[in-house]
Amino acid sequence: MWEYAPAPESRDIANLKPSYKMFVDGKFVEGTGEPLKTVNPATEEVLAEVSTASQSDVDTAVKAARKAYDRVWSKMPGSERAKYIYRIARQIQERGRELAVLESLDNGKPIKESRDVDVPTAASHFFYHAGWADKLGYAGYGPDPQPLGVAGQVIPWNFPLLMAAWKIAPALACGNTVVLKPAETTPLTALVLADVIQQCDLPPGVVNIIPGAGDVGAALVGHEDVNKVAFTGSTDVGKVIQGRLAGTSKKLTLELGGKAANIVFDDAPLDQAVEGIVNGIFFNQGHVCCAGSRLLVQESIADELVEKLHARVSTLRVGDPLDKNTDVGAINSREQLTRIKELTESGDAEGAQRWTSSCPLPDKGFFFAPTVFSNVSQAMRIAREEIFGPVLSVLTFRTPEEAVAKANNTPYGLSAGIWTEKGSRILWMAQRMRAGVVWSNTFNRFDPTAPFGGYQESGFGREGGRTGLEAYLDV
């Protein structure tokens, strides 16, 4: 293994402030909820104090969004809305380095990912959707599709800025106003995005960002003056929200958990497949709803592939998220680390064979060494439950039919991977995957033009592309 000297990005670039306020009606204001302390998961140090919303703050934010909707945003020509959204895209690019470093500090993800994936993709989502704002009549929902009103949006901690972009950009393009709640453990980049929005001179109240815990999210999605709810997070919480909205007229879209199969056939280019498997499960510490967490390998190549996989995973560098050489950063919270440990212990108890990378781990912070379980059966918890961590479960199959049956043997249905050199087999398999995104001979690719979202208990509605606009239009 190559030795690398540390190459840390400077944390000064993040412009970290001791305290952050919520953003309501165009202004940064103190919330009246109990302030939260956000922690750097790589060091366990407190990064900043962040004010949170109380129930009455939620109400104030929704009122501001309603007023902005009624008086300004819904009346503004799409061509003008478009220019505001383009401004946001440009500012994210301009402040990209600041946002990337701040994201890595607050979330624990490696700087090379926040720099090369999260921030540029966030900018591209705004840029893409800006162009739709004055072209909605061409989107296939009739000549003059109307917005829904106020959107209440709740996002997770795994891609804090990117998820904010996925939610806010299409909502604004379609003419809605927004109240967004970032995750409790990762509120900072959303609040810098609020600063971007303020600098872009968006009319007050069009975007409101209110940090807080689950109770703030519950108050937001349940607020009677919210017309649209968009949630990305766990399937358990998604079900609660869907149940809560029963009998209302609120439109709902959900992007929930997954347990994706990454299927490798015996004719696959193995070295490429190994790279794809590693990317599929260790990207973002495995904190990815569409992670390829179940590796299905054709039996005849299973031993060879697992051996190559162990060798490759052993080279992954786990550690300081700000180091440009880091491959796997910190687990986002102690709570998540505990859950990963608990689930992997169930793997041991149920008889799977654990292999752990011998990479050194930092002394403090929340870290978990990349782990691969072999001899996994479909009944085991590690094959059924979303671990949301750097843990891969390896199962085998003999025939394509068996691969299809095993891949689809889950209540989830977000994504799948297929590795084979045979084109007709790729298409045959892709057609049979009960999953919203199928990556063939690649994995974890995202683009604002490509609709993303799940089948079954992975949620409903799509984000991105023409299809994604439906979530924010009254159609």
Binding site: K239, A246, P411, M433, V437, N441, R445, T449, A450, P451
Partner: protein, 287 residues
């Protein structure tokens, strides 16, 4: 007037391409709009609903895997066979709904035409709702609509044929299969329609029809783990929120319809879209 005694039909369920009685052995009297007894209909049970879901699931792979051209021809065939039995349906709709013959005629004609309309959609949905995605990288990416799976349909309570056709056709046009609970008080045209479906090359299990008490059967379908979507059109108002809550337990797609939907108007794509997933497929480009 002939003194011949007519042969009265036994109205049964339609499950998996067969016409069973309710496994519960129950039936309930059905009257015309004036209250005159017409027939005893089968009173479907929880078990009938579960059998119907199993039949719909079994039929799903072949029906969703059939070519769009094939599905289009099957739906068109339904229109053909329905046209041939037009007089029978006019009479049944007039009796069930208590409308004059002329109105019943127009409802039946519109129902026939609705099959033709949806038959024409089967091989156009992918072109209209799918896309080639111009992603920023060396990848070929495309998105295509796919059927969501098994759909539980609570058919409209008033419009016994046109409404029924208007809620079934968009479900099966795109390759879904369904379990339908008919209008509770006007179930007879639905059972006669199932005779049309059974003789129109619609594979058994693609459409399953249950008569009975909507409020009794619907909750079992709303909470059934192998049902992917729920159409609330004919749900009693008092039950709608409960059904939606039950559906949330397995993240079903729920179609909440606006009250008093006008089925005589030409539909748009919204009922097709309600039961479609979008699948995005990526592949690298290179030499």
């Amino acid at each position: 007037m002939s003194d011949r005694l007519t042969v009265a039909k036994t109205y049964k369920l339609y499950i998996g391409g067969k016409f069973p009685r309710s496994e519960s052995g129950r039936s309930y009297p059905v009257a015309d709009a004036k209250g005159t007894f017409l027939a005893n209909a089968a009173q479907g049970s929880r078990k009938d609903a579960r059998d119907a879901v199993a039949a719909a699931r079994k039929a799903f792979d072949a029906w969703s895997g059939a070519t769009a051209y094939n599905r289009g021809q099957v739906l068109y065939r339904v229109a053909e066979v329905l046209e041939g039995r037009r007089e029978q349906f006019i009479s049944e709709v007039a009796t069930s709904e208590g409308v004059p013959a002329k109105k019943a005629q127009s409802l039946v004609d519109t129902a026939i035409d609705r099959w033709v309309w949806y038959a024409g959609w089967t091989d156009k949905i992918a072109a209209v709702l799918g896309s080639s995605n111009p992603v920023a990288g060396p990848y070929f990416s495309f998105s295509t609509p796919e059927p969501t799976g098994v759909v539980a349909v609570l058919a409209p309570q008033q419009s016994s044929l046109l409404g029924l056709v208007s809620v079934i056709a968009p479900v099966i046009a795109s390759g879904n299969t369904c379990v339908v609970i008919t209008s509770q008080d006007r179930p007879l045209p639905a059972i006669t329609l199932s005779e049309v479906l059974a003789t129109s090359d619609v594979p058994g299990g693609v459409v399953n029809i249950i008569t009975g008490r909507t409020a009794e059967i619907a909750p079992w379908l709303a909470s059934h783990a192998d049902v992917n979507a729920l159409d609330l059109t004919g749900a009693p108002d008092s039950l709608r929120a409960d059904l939606e809550r039950a559906a949330a337990g397995t993240v079903k797609r729920v179609l909440r319809t606006k009250p008093n939907e006008d089925f005589t108007a030409t539909p748009d794509m919204s009922r097709l879209r309600a039961y479609l997933e979008t699948k995005t497929v990526w592949h690298p480009m290179g030499v």
